[in-house]
């Protein structure tokens, strides 16, 4: 009988449940950020031919900065009348050279045309955020300025489209 009790006690010991088991668990946290597209014109500097003596040639230069981190397509919505001046003597259409430069002083990438509609210059996405300058250099021939005195003004419109 003692042997039976000992056997039963042994079975009981063996069959006892194990100690409570601890638990390890994992979760995750998501981190997010969005880098925005930078594409904006800055403040322009107007193009002025100054005070012109009738019958004299004149030149002027103006620009507008564009900051971007994507490609761009430049176009001229006014086409042939881009930068036309209007005043007491009617219309006055300067001749322009135009394009884009890394500074406001020098055109590095010229537009295909400065007085035609449609896309004039396409630039690829830059490796880093940059600011470039859309530059218009205008000239008036002597014969053009022999007109009615007064103030002649106009607007050069440039469209920049993200590419």
């Amino acid at each position: 009988m003692n042997r039976s009790f000992r056997l039963l006690a042994a079975l009981t010991v063996i069959a006892l449940p194990s100690a409570a088991s601890a638990q390890a668990i994992t979760g995750s946290i998501v981190a997010t950020a969005d880098i925005s597209t930078v594409f904006s014109f800055g403040a322009p500097t107007g193009l002025s031919f100054g005070n012109i003596t009738p019958g004299s040639a004149a030149t002027g230069s103006g620009y507008i900065p564009l900051s971007r981190n994507v490609g761009v397509i430049y176009s001229l919505p006014d086409g042939a009348t881009t930068g036309r001046l209007v005043g007491p003597g009617g219309n006055l259409q300067p001749t322009y050279t135009c394009g884009v430069g890394s500074t406001s002083a020098t055109i590095v990438s010229a537009f295909a045309n400065c007085n035609a509609a449609g896309a004039q210059l396409t630039l690829v996405s830059p490796p880093a955020l940059l600011t470039e300058y859309v530059i218009f250099n205008g000239s008036l021939a002597a014969g053009q300025t022999n007109i009615t005195p007064g103030t002649y003004t106009g607007t050069i419109r440039v469209t920049a489209t993200p590419n």
Partner: protein, 158 residues
């Protein structure tokens, strides 16, 4: 008592002490419930953006519930990435984690770079919050960047 009676008594004693089911065992359970992501938002190239643990709308929040002491450790990524492999570096400081009550009261500052011992109790949730700093460069390209922080919760001794 006869020997047979004694055996019956012993069997009864064993059966009475046997756990009825697995649920009757003493088991320490902890739950992790993500509440909010770490959101740096819309960033500009070339700038650093820090999210502090007090930034209610942008900090990460995870609810922890359970009983007893637990060790909380993080596996922190070095950067967020886009699907095309562009990266924004991430950094975490010693003050970029904290423990809050469910109502938002700060219980303690935690160091996300270390293993932190946290006391859970009475099955009530506490909030683990995480901040961090994103560092963009001028060459960081537009896009949606993501990363995952692994949260490891262990009972001491495991």
């Amino acid at each position: 008592m006869t020997p047979r009676t004694g055996l019956h008594a012993l069997f009864a004693l064993i059966l009475a002490s046997w756990p009825e089911s697995a649920a009757g065992q003493s088991k320490q359970t902890v739950s992790i419930i993500p509440v909010q992501s770490l959101s740096f938002g819309l960033l500009l190239p070339g700038l650093r953006e820090a999210v502090s643990v007090t930034d209610v709308s942008r900090r990460a929040v995870v609810a922890l519930a359970g009983d007893g002491p637990v060790d909380v450790a993080l596996v922190l990524p070095s950067a967020m990435e886009t699907s095309s492999g562009d990266r924004i570096l991430l950094s975490f400081s010693t003050s970029d984690a904290a423990l809050l009550t469910a109502s938002g009261t700060t219980l303690s500052q935690l160091d996300p770079l270390q293993v932190n011992r946290v006391q859970l109790g009475n099955g009530r949730s506490i909030l683990f919050v995480l901040g961090g700093t994103a560092v963009t460069s001028a060459t960081t390209r537009p896009g949606h960047y993501t990363a995952r922080v692994a949260l490891l919760v262990n009972h001491p001794g495991t």
